[in-house]
Each structure stands twice: as structure tokens, then as C-alpha cells.
């Protein structure tokens, strides 16, 4: 069992846990993730390891509530226990000194990006960070990202914080004024796809972090497959980071919808049950 030691509400839809998982805490590097399962009935839920504290054996994860399993997580409190936490899974981000890097995070992708930012800064890069979300409250981890960024650009769809517009607009502006050696984009599929287009046009290599539907996370089922450079890759073991211009985006985005009817059914049933229980 894996105990949740701290629970913090970051936004309307985003929650943070610290969990005791000493083995993961000792090994996880930026870009890696865990799979957790609440109990025997639960799904195996992949979440990025946002931070570790090796001394106390804890890991930090941040999740967005979008369906049944994440809603169930949300109802857990400090002191509760998860049946399983396994990791760290996936290949770590290739952290080294590239020179000047541009990192772009959108929505809950910021939680996935944050350890990458920290790693890149500690490796001596000049880090320019763009964070974007629908509205001000959804731009999470602002201060922490700022700590490890040489420049932080904030973008919201509604202009409630920073520039009004899209992260791609901000990217274009940076590319226009600065030579960037390597870029990252982490967020919703559509966002990563457009970021890839912008970076590729500017001839800057860009990494994206793919989050396809997974089960085991150990290369055993093939559920997480994506076409990269026309080859079948398993995101859980070959990724999750890939070069954006090599990804078959249509295939990737379409496979994310595979279980929409079932997911909706499960979420609705869960919400109805919650209403019954809590009035």
C-alpha cells in the first residue's frame, strides 16, 4: 500500500498528491511516470512524477479530473492509501546542456513539463518557458516554473493572465528574436501538434511527451502504440518523449478517443453514485 501524505487543490480541476513510494522516489528522473491503482476495481492510471523527495521517500503527482478514475482519486485524502504505485516508467528526458531551450506547457501538461524545466536549468541551459491555459487559475506551478526559468511567458485564452492568445503565438515571437537549440512542448495532443508545426517551420527540433491510453506501462500489451517515423513504437517503453515532427498525429489523437462511450458511461454512473451518497 502507498500512503497519500498530502493533498492540495491547485485549481478547480487539478489536485496534487504527495505519496510515499520510496523506490520510485529514489529513481525517478524528469520525463518518467508512475502507474497507480486505487484498489482492485480501479484502472491503472499513468501520472507523471512531478517531483521527488528521496530523503522522505515521497513522490509528487498532479492530476486533472477528467473522468471516473481521476474523479475517484480526487475524493481521496491525506492518510488514504493506494493499492499500487509502480515506476518509474518510461525513458527519462534527455537532459544535457543544449544552449538555449524553449519549453512550452499547456494545461495539466505544465505538471509534466515542470521536472523537465528544472532538469534543463540545472544542466546549465538558458531556459525560456511558455505556460498557457484557458484562464488564469489553470496556469499551475507558476512560481516553481519561474524559479528555474530565465524567462517566463504566460499566455491565456481569455487574457486573464499574461498575453491573450495561444502558446504558438508566443513561440513564434521567441523564434523570431532568438536562436533556440532545442524545444519541448507538453500538453493536449492538438497543442503539441501545432507547437511541432511552428518549431519545425523555424527549423528547431522539438520533443513532445505523448500520453496515449496505457495499461501495463511495461511494453507488454501494445495498447500505447504510436507511429513514429512510420514505425510502431510503444510510448510506455520507447517514450513517452518523441521528436514531434516524426509523430503520426492523426493516429495518436484518434486513438485517445477509443473508449469515449465507455468512459462517459463510467463517469456518469460514478457521479450519480456520488450524488446518492452525498445528497
Amino acid at each position: 500500500m502507498y500512503k497519500i501524505t498530502e493533498r492540495t487543490v491547485l485549481s478547480e480541476r487539478e489536485i496534487e498528491f504527495w505519496i510515499i513510494a520510496p523506490r520510485v522516489a529514489a529513481k525517478a528522473q524528469p520525463g518518467q511516470f508512475v502507474i497507480l491503482q486505487v484498489d482492485q476495481f480501479g484502472e491503472r492510471i499513468p501520472l507523471t512524477v512531478c517531483e521527488t523527495d528521496e530523503a522522505s521517500g515521497q513522490i509528487r503527482v498532479i492530476f486533472q479530473v477528467i473522468g471516473k478514475s481521476t474523479a475517484e482519486l480526487k475524493h481521496l485524502n491525506a492518510g488514504d492509501e493506494l493499492q499500487d504505485v509502480v515506476g518509474p516508467l518510461g525513458k527519462p528526458t534527455e537532459i544535457k546542456n543544449y544552449g538555449t531551450v524553449l519549453v512550452v506547457g499547456g494545461g495539466v501538461g505544465i505538471a509534466v513539463l515542470y521536472p523537465v524545466i528544472r532538469g534543463l536549468k540545472q544542466a546549465g541551459n538558458h531556459v525560456i518557458t511558455i505556460l498557457g491555459a484557458k484562464t488564469k487559475d489553470l496556469v499551475i506551478l507558476r512560481e516553481e516554473c519561474a524559479m528555474y526559468s530565465d524567462e517566463l511567458i504566460l499566455v491565456t485564452d481569455d487574457g486573464s493572465l499574461g498575453q491573450k492568445g495561444l502558446v504558438t503565438d508566443a513561440m513564434k515571437a521567441v523564434f523570431a528574436r532568438e536562436e533556440i537549440n532545442q524545444a519541448w512542448a507538453i500538453g493536449p495532443g492538438i497543442m503539441m501538434r501545432y507547437c511541432t508545426d511552428v518549431a519545425t517551420k523555424a527549423e528547431v527540433p522539438i520533443y513532445v511527451s505523448l500520453n496515449p491510453i496505457m495499461i501495463d506501462g511495461t511494453g507488454m500489451c501494445g495498447c500505447c502504440r504510436v507511429l513514429v517515423n512510420d514505425q510502431i513504437k510503444f510510448a510506455c517503453v520507447d517514450g513517452p518523449e518523441f521528436l514531434g515532427d516524426q509523430v503520426d498525429w492523426d493516429g495518436f489523437i484518434q486513438r485517445m478517443h477509443q473508449y469515449h462511450p465507455e468512459e462517459e458511461e463510467a463517469y456518469q454512473a460514478y457521479q450519480e453514485k456520488q450524488v446518492q451518497l452525498n445528497g
Binding site: 523506490r23 520510485v24 529513481k27 491503482q37 482492485q40 476495481f41 480501479g42 484502472e43 491503472r44 471516473k68 478514475s69 493499492q83 499500487d84 504505485v85 509502480v86 515506476g87 518509474p88 516508467l89 495499461i215 501495463d216 511495461t218 511494453g219 507488454m220 500489451c221 501494445g222 495498447c223 502504440r225 504510436v226 507511429l227 510502431i232 510503444f234 517503453v237 503520426d248 492523426d250 493516429g251 484518434q254 486513438r255 478517443h257 477509443q258 473508449y259 465507455e262 468512459e263 458511461e265 463510467a266 454512473a269
Partner: protein
């Protein structure tokens, strides 16, 4: 004693009309009377050929004789000398190609062989209901790590614990059992049986740590440092794909994903369990082995209207067990022989709507001695399908291997280990099961485990004695 019947004593089964709608076990087992009737068919041969064709050389006439005498405890004791997983092997062993193939009774034209597997199951199921007598052996001989809790790893662990080793199994998933847990469906191998056989092993003092992916959660360096020896039994768990156009459409599965959703994650009990599996109407399964049968029969049970297995050779070459094939036909599974898929067809939303296939003919024999299937030009046709499941084999899982380059591999990427000893190129590291042989059988994986346990004992002893010189 009356006359021997020509045929095996039939085992009661759920009727096909009933069982195709549930996941309960198909074969219901013998009762004592049926078992004794069947046991009486055995000729009690002197140099029994059945023994030499069992990969773990079970004293078959010996245990069958005890059944006939009604002495189940003794029968069970005999089995336990050779096998740690009799309730499992009695159910899933390809008996007709092993012990039963050479049964002397079956050699005479009129008679079917003795139902050895079914008798083994009878004894094992009886034993599972008895309290285990655990001989409390002090665990002072040494520390051994076992990687992977499939049949191979479980066997090594059980055997070593019995003779006084402190054994820890590291398992990547949330539950032990390997393919027994995530692959072979409930209706052929109830998970209750798997759990009980595993309990008998943990009662010997074996520790199982789940959620431990060796190579990620724990490194091989740490294992080599903390233990006197280790055994790698990580299986051949990486699915192959044909790679034909449309492989990434929604509705195209590997059998590993399909069966994992159903078995490990209980997808057939969605939404009580959260993991979904597609509710399909028309299913196409590609392949002809046990894995294909299991996928097809599972799809049927999930409510598919049509399930078609397409196989590129003919019915004679079908590698699946005859019994499984017959069961599947009774359950309404259709077969399209000499057929190969060439493309998955998509609707406008990226969902599978059909499988384009081509007819094959058998040409000259290939390396395996089987006639090579060749496409017949112009014979393309389409099968309507919303789900396609590829059951075309697995390859070595690289999660551990990639982090352990010191270990020699063969040309297919499996671990290069000595068949006689399970020794690898790294001293103290042993390996066996599917990760050495490629996808094979439960009993072979278990057999390797038996060998490895003896060799590991030898290795640790000689090592200790060297250390004390």
C-alpha cells in the same frame, strides 16, 4: 473390475449455449467415481512411455494407481515431487502432444489414451481444499531473487524455499501469475485456482513483491549486490504486430491487450471494474494458436454476434490444442482457413469497419517443414469487423534486457541460457521459461524452473564454500 472402456471417461462441461455467455470454467472436472473409473483404464506399464513424454517426468502410473485405490493424499504426494502447479498443468498442458500422445493404451486403435491431464487435475483440485502442511525450514542457505512471477519464476522460488533459501520474487504487475493471470482466460483457468497454487508457494516462505519492474524500480546491479544468485523468468511478453495499413485504427488490438483488459483488469465485469473493453459486434481474430482461441472465445463471451478466426494455413496445421479448437467451434466461432489480412479498413471516424483479406494456397515446405502459405493474386475479399485482434506471437520484453547488456542474447533477442543448467553468460544469473525459449508452454517454463532451482542450489553452495576457504 469391468472391461476398460474404449473412450476416455467424459468430463462434464457447461453446455455450449450456456457457456458462450459466461466466463465460468468450461470443463467441470471429474468427481471421485469418474476419476476412479478413468484411473482403472491405465495399464500400469512397466517402462511407462507417458513418463518420458512429460517434460517434468511425473510418475504417471504411480499417481494414477493411488487414485484407483482411492488414496488421494498419496496421489497428491507423488505429484508434488515433480510439479508445483498440478492444478494448472492438468488444465492447460498440451497433453495430446505430450504424455497422452504416447500412452500405450491409446496406441491400440480402438482405445483412446488415458486422460492423464484430467486425472492430474482431479488430484490437484482435491489437494487445494486440504490444509497445506508447511514444513518450517529455516531460511539460512542463502538469498535468491526471482524476476517475474510467471510459472517459471514461481517454480524456482517454491523449490528453493522448500530447501531453505530466502527467496524474493519481483513482479512488474499488481498481481503474480504471469500469463496465467493476465493471458489465459477464466473459463479455461479460473483465477481462484491460480491464486491458490500461488498461495501454496508463498506458504513455503516465498516473498512476492508486486509493482517492482526490474530494470526500472530496481536495477540488476542492486539485485546482484543484494542476493547470492538470481533467476530471470520475465516471459516473452511483447506483442508482435503484422504492421499492415490501418494497424492504429480504433478497434485493432493485440491479443495481449485484449486479454489483459479482460483477465488482469476484469474488463468483462465493466463497469463494476473500471477498465473498459470494446463491446464488439463483429470480431476478426488473426492467428491459429491457443492465444487466438482464447481471444475468439472471450470475444464471444463479451457478446459479439460473429467471431471469425482467420488463419493463413489450413485446419491441419492449426497449432492450437484440438480440445480448444473443438470447444470454440461448439461456441459458434467461425474459421476462414488459408486467409491472410492485408489491410484494416476505416470508417470516417478512424474506427475499424472491415478487414481486407487475401486467400492463400500452400506451397513448398519452409524451414519449419510446414508448407509455406502463398497469396493467390486477385483473391482479395473483405470481412466486416469492428474489432480485430492480432494473435500472431510475442517477442522478448526488453525492459530488463536493455539495462543489462552483459547478458548474452541469441539471434532472436531471447536470453542465451544453457538448456541443461539455465546458466547465462553472467555467473550467478540463471534464466528460463519463455524469455529463453520464446513463447512456449506452462509446463516447459515450470520444467526450466525445476532445473534452475537445483543449479542455483549448487551454485550458491560452491560459492559459499569457496568464500570460506
Amino acid at each position: 473390475m469391468g472391461k476398460r472402456s474404449f473412450n476416455k471417461t467424459p468430463m462434464r462441461e457447461q453446455a455450449p449455449e450456456v457457456r458462450q455467455h459466461n466466463f465460468k470454467e468450461v470443463a467441470l472436472g471429474y468427481n471421485m467415481e469418474e476419476g476412479q473409473l478413468e484411473a482403472a483404464r491405465c495399464l500400469q506399464c512397466k517402462d511407462a512411455p507417458c513418463i518420458t513424454h512429460c517434460p517434468v517426468m511425473i510418475d504417471i502410473p504411480g499417481f494414477i494407481r493411488q487414485i484407483k485405490l482411492g488414496n488421494m493424499a498419496e496421489a497428491s504426494k507423488i505429484l508434488s515431487r515433480y510439479t508445483n502447479l498440478p492444478a494448472i498443468c492438468g488444465r492447460v498442458c498440451p497433453q495430446e502432444k505430450q504424455c497422452e500422445m504416447v500412452c500405450r493404451l491409446g496406441r491400440s486403435k480402438k482405445f483412446e489414451p488415458v486422460a492423464i491431464g484430467k486425472l492430474e487435475r482431479l488430484v490437484a483440485d482435491w489437494e487445494l481444499d486440504q490444509p497445506t502442511d508447511v514444513t518450517d525450514v529455516p531460511k539460512d542457505k542463502g538469498k535468491v531473487a526471482v524476476i517475474g512471477a510467471g510459472p517459471s519464476g514461481l517454480t524456482v522460488a517454491g523449490d528453493l524455499a522448500k530447501i531453505g533459501y530466502d527467496v524474493t520474487i519481483y513482479e512488474a504487475l499488481q498481481a503474480p501469475g504471469g500469463v496465467l493471470t493476465y493471458g489465459i482466460p477464466e473459463f479455461r483457468l479460473p483465477k481462484r485456482i491460480v491464486r491458490k497454487e500461488i498461495e501454496q508457494i508463498t506458504e513455503q516462505g516465498v516473498k512476492i513483491e508486486t509493482d517492482a519492474v526490474v530494470g526500472k524500480t530496481i536495477t540488476m546491479d542492486e539485485i546482484m549486490h543484494d542476493f547470492d544468485a538470481c533467476y530471470i523468468g520475465v516471459g516473452a511478453g511483447t506483442p508482435n504486430f503484422l504492421g499492415i495499413p490501418g494497424t492504429n485504427l480504433n478497434g485493432v488490438y493485440s491479443s495481449s491487450e485484449y486479454l489483459t483488459r479482460i483477465n488482469l483488469m476484469h474488463g468483462y465485469e465493466f463497469p463494476k471494474y473500471d477498465t473498459p473493453v470494446q463491446q464488439s459486434k463483429h470480431v476478426v481474430v488473426i492467428g491459429g494458436g491457443n492465444v487466438a482461441m482464447d481471444s475468439a472465445r472471450s470475444a464471444r463471451r463479451l457478446g459479439a454476434d460473429t467471431v471469425t478466426v482467420i488463419y493463413r494455413r489450413s485446419s491441419e496445421e492449426l497449432p492450437a490444442r484440438v480440445e480448444e479448437y473443438q470447444h470454440s467451434v461448439q461456441e459458434g466461432i467461425q474459421y476462414s482457413w488459408l486467409t491472410n489480412p492485408v489491410e484494416y479498413l476505416s470508417d470516417e471516424d478512424g474506427n475499424l469497419k472491415g478487414v481486407k483479406c487475401i486467400k492463400m494456397k500452400l506451397g513448398e515446405p519452409d524451414d519449419s517443414g510446414r508448407r509455406r502459405p502463398e497469396p493467390i493474386p486477385g483473391s482479395e475479399f473483405t470481412i466486416k469487423a469492428d474489432t480485430a485482434i492480432e494473435a500472431i506471437g510475442q517477442g522478448p520484453n526488453k525492459v530488463l534486457l536493455d539495462t543489462f547488456p552483459e547478458l548474452n542474447k541469441n539471434k532472436w533477442g531471447y536470453i542465451d541460457a544453457d538448456e541443461q543448467t539455465c546458466a547465462t553468460s553472467v555467473p550467478g544469473v540463471f534464466a528460463g521459461g519463455d524469455i529463453v525459449t520464446g513463447a512456449a508452454t506452462v509446463i516447459l517454463a515450470m520444467g526450466a524452473g525445476k532445473i534452475a532451482a537445483k543449479e542455483i542450489d549448487q551454485y550458491v553452495k560452491s560459492h559459499h564454500s569457496m568464500a570460506t576457504v
